[in-house]
């Protein structure tokens, strides 16, 4: 009886959220008094074992199969189901990312078992024995609402909500004993493989930029973004926008900050002419400092921001850019 953490990676490159879910899994294992095990899928990830030991993994199961060179939701799910069959874990935890949620949905569908997406580390009540229902808190609306839920399942399947657990090394590292295994893949795993793959060249992206200059409905037009572009460029950042902007066709969806767009993690987010509906806030709230520029002092984004300028963004944004240039001269 163990807690099994599915380690998300891309061709052996660890996804940061994987260490959050591994830490989540360790806290869970400690709570129910059992061992933490990890599973990596594909031989490209074999080199991760020692690192996972630092986070407390006692065993690192390693799925090896020729169809597992790249990510595959079916192949990954089949591998996890194989391990559930042989190891009978108490719980399986994955990262609350697109892939983590996708794989556990596939696992749950195979087992016809419940799967709870995006669980918070707080408020977990695991019960006295394996058959006890668990009570837990999960996020809805991208985190704008919490849900207390009860879970009845033999194997508890869940993902750890993103950025709600700090990835922390264990006080006592685990031995991370490698345990290679051959997963039983269904025929479908040969059909739903990745046929083509392109890695985009690294650069400043919306998700990783240290400065994001965001514009909303108040920008008024596609051309209205020119001063925002200028300010972003001055600060080595990128331009973002609200859903109203993409719905109007003013900018591409790849620039959209929000629940159905990108969640930013910038040092500074300028929210210009954005009212700040909850769906936008979900994407913006990861910024360490939010500066709102808005004509309406009562706008939701203004009340939640760290700093605000009450005024017309079409005048304020160029004035900020001018001031930066003046001080740099």
């Amino acid at each position: 009886m163990t807690v099994l953490a599915l380690i998300e990676h891309d061709r052996g490159r660890l996804v940061p959220a994987a260490l959050e879910s591994l830490t989540f899994g360790r806290q869970l294992a400690d709570r129910i008094g059992t061992e933490l095990e990890a599973v990596t899928i594909g031989s490209t990830a074999d080199g991760l074992a020692a690192h996972l030991g630092e986070f407390g993994a006692a065993t690192v199961h390693q799925a090896h199969h020729e169809l597992l060179a790249d990510f595959s939701a079916d192949g990954w799910a089949d591998s996890v189901v194989t391990l559930i069959g042989t190891g009978n874990p108490h719980a399986v935890v994955a990262s609350g990312t697109d892939r983590g949620n996708e794989v556990l949905a596939h696992v749950a569908a195979r087992l016809d078992a419940p799967f709870v997406a995006n669980v918070l580390p707080t408020g977990l009540e695991t019960g006295a024995d394996r058959n006890s229902p668990w009570h837990l808190t999960r996020v809805r609306w991208g985190g704008s609402l919490h849900e207390r839920a009860v879970l009845h399942a033999d194997v508890k399947l869940m993902t750890a909500a993103l950025h709600r657990v700090d990835a922390e090394r264990a006080d006592t590292p685990g031995p991370a004993t490698p345990a290679p295994f051959l997963p039983v893949l269904e025929e479908r795993a040969a059909i739903t493989i990745v046929r083509d793959r392109v890695e985009r060249t690294a650069g400043v992206t919306l998700a990783t930029a240290s400065v994001v200059v965001g514009g909303g409905r108040g920008v008024g037009s596609p051309e209205g973004f020119a001063p925002l572009e200028d300010l972003a460029q001055l600060l080595g950042g990128v331009v973002g926008c609200s859903r109203a902007v993409t719905n109007n066709g003013w900018r591409n969806h790849t620039d959209q900050v929000g629940q159905t767009g990108t969640r930013i993690s910038a040092d500074v987010y300028f929210a210009c002419g954005i009212s700040g509906a909850i769906q936008h806030w979900v994407g913006a709230s990861g910024a360490k400092c939010i500066i709102a520029i808005n004509t309406d002092p009562g706008a939701n984004i203004v009340t939640k921001a760290d700093y605000a300028v009450i005024g017309d963004l079409h005048e304020v944004v160029p004035a900020i850019a001018d001031e930066i240039r003046r001080r740099r001269d």
């Binding site: 996804v15 939701a73 079916d74 990312t97 697109d98 949620n101 996708e102 949905a105 569908a109 195979r110 016809d112 419940p114 799967f115 709870v116 995006n118 996020v139 809805r140 609306w141 991208g142 985190g143 704008s144 609402l145 849900e147 207390r148 839920a149 009860v150 879970l151 009845h152 739903t192 493989i193 990745v194 046929r195 083509d196 793959r197 890695e199 985009r200 240290s210 993409t246 066709g249 629940q259 159905t260 767009g261 040092d267 500074v268 509906a277 909850i278 400092c289 500066i291 939701n300 939640k304 760290d306 700093y307 605000a308 300028v309 009450i310 304020v316 004035a319 900020i320 001018d322 740099r328």
Partner: protein, 255 residues
């Protein structure tokens, strides 16, 4: 080709979400309703495929009778038939929802029009965000599924799906019939025409009773997250605030 698009009626909250006194639901007293953003794009994707390849698009929802509003919106965009799987009023858990949709699909496919070539879901619902109903339905129907689609084309009997995760673009090719979960950004959804609005009022909403057995996850109550304490500092009005803004940037080491 025959396409089914599954949608969900959700509240359209503004600046905050209020709960009912018993904590069992979002207080929608002053709210409008919409469908999840990913599903608006699912509808657009389905309609575009039918325009290119011919055939028909059907929209289906599991929900209260009021969800007819979203079905009629789908009809106003050009969907040829709309199907309501009525619930008892409470939100169903993901397993139950998937079982009900599967039952409804089997019922629809037993009819004269035959099987759906493609069933399109939104990647996850805007409200509960369970990330699983489409995958479960695909499994129950024994069809391949890919989620997170940011591109979708059909050539003969193969659906080509493009998606992007952390800067890696992946392309999948699924033999039809298949299931796809799409994300906002795959397209820009159309708006209804006046003619579409008028005809949608007369559209017949087909009801299929498919209840589905409850699954192992149940909501106990909804909770508002703790309020983040406000630390707002107003730096000033208009252009006169610019030096104060740049002071903040300087403090943060961004100059």
């Amino acid at each position: 080709m025959r396409v089914l698009i599954c949608i969900k009626r959700v509240p359209a909250p503004g600046a905050r979400i209020n709960l009912t006194a018993d904590g069992q639901a979002v207080d929608t007293t002053n709210l409008g309703f919409t469908m999840s953003p990913h599903e608006e794009c699912a509808l657009e994707a389905g309609l575009a495929l039918v325009e290119t390849h011919g055939g028909s698009a059907t929209a289906l929802t599991v929900g209260r009778p009021e969800a007819e509003e979203q079905l009629r919106y789908a009809a106003s965009l050009g969907v040829t038939s709309v199907v309501l799987v009525p619930t008892d009023g409470n939100d169903w858990d993901p397993q139950r929802t998937a079982r009900a949709i599967t039952g409804a699909v089997e019922h629809l496919e037993a009819g004269a029009d035959g099987s759906f070539d493609l069933i399109i879901f939104g990647n996850e619902s805007a409200d509960s965000g369970g990330f699983q109903v489409g995958v479960r339905v695909a499994r129950a129907l024994d069809r391949p599924v890919v989620t997170g689609a940011k591109g979708l084309t059909v050539d003969e009997d193969v659906a080509s799906i493009r998606r992007e995760i952390d800067g890696v673009q992946e392309v999948y090719e699924l033999p039809l019939p298949a299931v796809v979960g799409v994300k906002e950004g795959i397209n820009l959804p159309r708006y209804p025409t006046m003619k579409g609005r008028l005809t949608s009022r007369k559209a017949t909403v087909d009801a299929i009773n498919a209840t589905g057995e409850a699954g192992g996850q149940a909501m106990v109550t909804l909770l508002s997250p703790p309020e983040v304490a406000s630390h707002l500092v107003v730096l000033g009005d208009g252009v006169t605030a610019a030096p104060a803004v740049v002071d903040v940037l300087d403090e943060l080491g961004l100059l």
